[in-house]
Amino acid sequence: MIDYIVGHINYWLIIAVMMVGLYTLMSRSNLIKKLAGLAMFQTAVILFYVSLGKVDGGTVPIVAEGYTLYSNPLPQVLMLTAIVVGVATTALGFALVIRIKEAYESVEEHEISQMDEKE
């Protein structure tokens, strides 16, 4: 049991990061904090993929004399793409927040929805 928990320690930590992100995303009214939560949530998934590729005792995937066990490079390559997507999403989100701030003079979700209802 202890072995199981300690052996999967990276996954437990990743789940914790993921849940913190998701909770921030859902519970905060401030749009910037929401985006921060979203970024954490995405980062947790990236960490998950990267730790998938690790093989115990494996070395970097470059063919060389004396090494037979290599880590899987594919998840890291995939995550390069996912990081780019994540950065683009966050950037677009911030751009929207700036426009929302200009239009509503607020970045608090409850204030904005109040203003929307008044119209």
């Binding site: 995303l25 929401k34 998934v45 995939l78 677009l92 989100g93 929207l96």
Partner: protein, 497 residues
């Protein structure tokens, strides 16, 4: 020869989009967009004709052999979706010229068209790819450009609509990514065909089941399957008209397509039947139909009404999928096409009203129908299709859906379709009544630039696009050969019969 055409569908908009963004001239930007969409449409037609009898076209990206490389494997379903997306893109670009000039600042119009092409690229990519991670990337390309497009709406509510769509859409896409990760951990592959082929070897792992749940949830969020539809009404009603036309007809459809691929191609059908997935989807579909139609009936603003009606129509597609027989699946696939045509036409009509009266509020639009008899007639045709009157495309889908429901003895579905249709009559009548039968009233024109004489008449491009849509509603209602053949071939290949 045809293998090369498949990749061109993605490459053409990919190259054209940045070029469009560089131009300062809005007419050139529009011309490039029209050219790109038309080119994609012609290519899709060529590919469709090639695969309609059940053949495959396979393209290996960069010459890497699958499962290591990314593979595009085109069958009737891929080609059908690509055809819908590029066809609607063409119609919306014809429509977009005057509508966009009216709603968006001149300086941002080239950027608007660039984002539009990127969105087209993403949706076509989803339709073509045979690699699950590649599907995620295309999903994000189309979503990111969609958020930008929606935020360009006239009202400031468009910004909040785009923001909440960004949050939910990204959560959905990330869920899908988690699912892909689990499946990759179990199978070691990302290629759909490869995973399906070796499924037995890792089917016993708990991971595989979790992966399916994550993927289905993620896609369902993107496809606005009830109860994950909350982003849709605001996003579609606040977006610029041309964007509403394009997105309502394609974005959710492509996500439903991704759902077909995951459920039928990636996983064996028996696997998720054992998880009670069809029952869950069937119930959600039925609730979506009734809830969506009821909420649509309550609305007093036309674009919101149409958006809620979309929620209901997505319900029909999910029902067709969950019935799990050939007629049901055929109806579901055909409804992707039929609903795309119907909803595009209706949103085009709403856009024309917005262009001429600067409002889509049904109360302010009283009697407008008599001032614009032709555009209004086109909208009525599309409205009748939405209800499912014989002779229109909507009837064909509902007919096959009913047939399939009776075959499988799902009487609840029969009842749902009848209630849904009655409510559809209700909300379509609401539009017809206020636009045509209510005593006309001086239209409250809001915030029209002074000296603008364009309000008096419908621009030719918008009218042409609207009538193409209405024509298609009738044409494919009477002549079902093309859509039915394509949908049947696609359904058979999904069911592996």
């Amino acid at each position: 020869m045809n293998e090369q055409l498949t990749i061109l569908l993605v490459v053409i908009p990919l190259i054209a989009a940045p070029i469009t963004a560089l131009f300062k001239n809005k007419d050139i930007a529009w011309a490039i967009t029209l050219l790109v969409s038309t080119a994609c449409f012609v290519l899709s037609v060529i590919i469709m004709l090639d695969v309609i009898d059940g053949k495959h076209v396979i393209y290996e990206l960069g010459g890497w052999r699958p499962p290591w490389g990314i593979e595009y494997k085109i069958d009737a379903l891929n080609a059908f979706i690509a055809l819908i997306v590029s066809g609607i893109a063409t119609i919306s670009s014809i429509y977009a010229k005057s509508s966009v000039e009216h709603e968006i600042d001149d300086s941002t119009i080239p950027l608007f068209y660039a984002a539009f092409q990127l969105c087209l690229l993403g949706l076509l990519g989803i339709a073509l790819t045979g690699d699950v991670f590649n599907l995620f990337v295309f999903l994000e390309i189309s979503s990111l450009s969609t958020y930008a497009l929606i935020s360009m709406g006239k009202h400031r509510k468009a910004l909040t609509a785009a923001f909440s769509y960004l949050i939910l859409g990204t959560v959905g896409a990330t869920f899908f990514l988690i699912g892909v990760g689990f499946l990759f951990a179990a199978s070691g592959s990302l290629n759909t065909a490869d995973i399906a082929q070796r499924f037995e070897t890792f089917a016993h792992m708990q991971l595989v089941e979790t992966a399916l749940i994550f993927m289905v949830l993620g896609i369902a969020l993107k496809a606005a399957v009830f109860p994950l539809h909350s982003w849709l009404p605001n996003a579609y009603s606040q977006a610029p008209s041309a964007v509403s036309v394009f997105l309502s007809a394609t974005a959710t459809k492509v996500s439903i397509y991704a759902l077909y691929r995951v459920l039928f191609d990636l996983y064996p059908v028996q696997y998720w039947v054992d998880m009670l997935m069809p029952q869950i989807l069937l119930s959600l579909g039925c609730v979506a139909v009734i809830y969506g139609s009821y909420r649509a009936w309550q609305q007093v603003e036309m674009k919101r009404l149409l958006a809620f009606s979309s929620v209901a129509q997505i319900g029909y597609m999910i029902i067709g999928l969950a019935l799990l027989n050939q007629n049901g699946l055929t109806a579901s696939i055909m409804h992707l096409f039929n609903h795309a045509v119907i909803k595009a036409t209706l949103f085009m009509g709403a856009g024309i009203l917005l262009y001429r009266a600067n409002t889509t509020d049904l109360g302010s639009l009283r009697g407008m129908g008599r001032d614009i008899p032709w555009s209004f007639a086109a909208m009525v045709i599309a409205g009748l299709s939405l209800i499912g009157v014989p002779g229109t495309v909507g009837f064909i889908t509902k007919w096959y859906l009913l047939e399939s429901a009776i075959e499988t003895g799902q009487w609840i579905v029969v009842v749902t379709i009848v209630i849904g249709s009655v409510l559809a009559i209700g909300y379509v009548w609401k539009i017809v009544e206020s636009l045509y039968f209510r005593s006309s009233r001086k239209v409250h024109i809001h915030a029209v630039e002074s000296g603008d004489d364009s309000v008096g008449k419908t621009p030719i491009g918008m009218a042409v696009a609207l009538w193409i849509g209405a024509g298609l509603c009738i044409f494919f209602g009477l002549n079902t050969d093309l859509s039915f053949d394509a949908a049947t071939t696609a359904a058979l290949s999904l069911l592996k019969q």
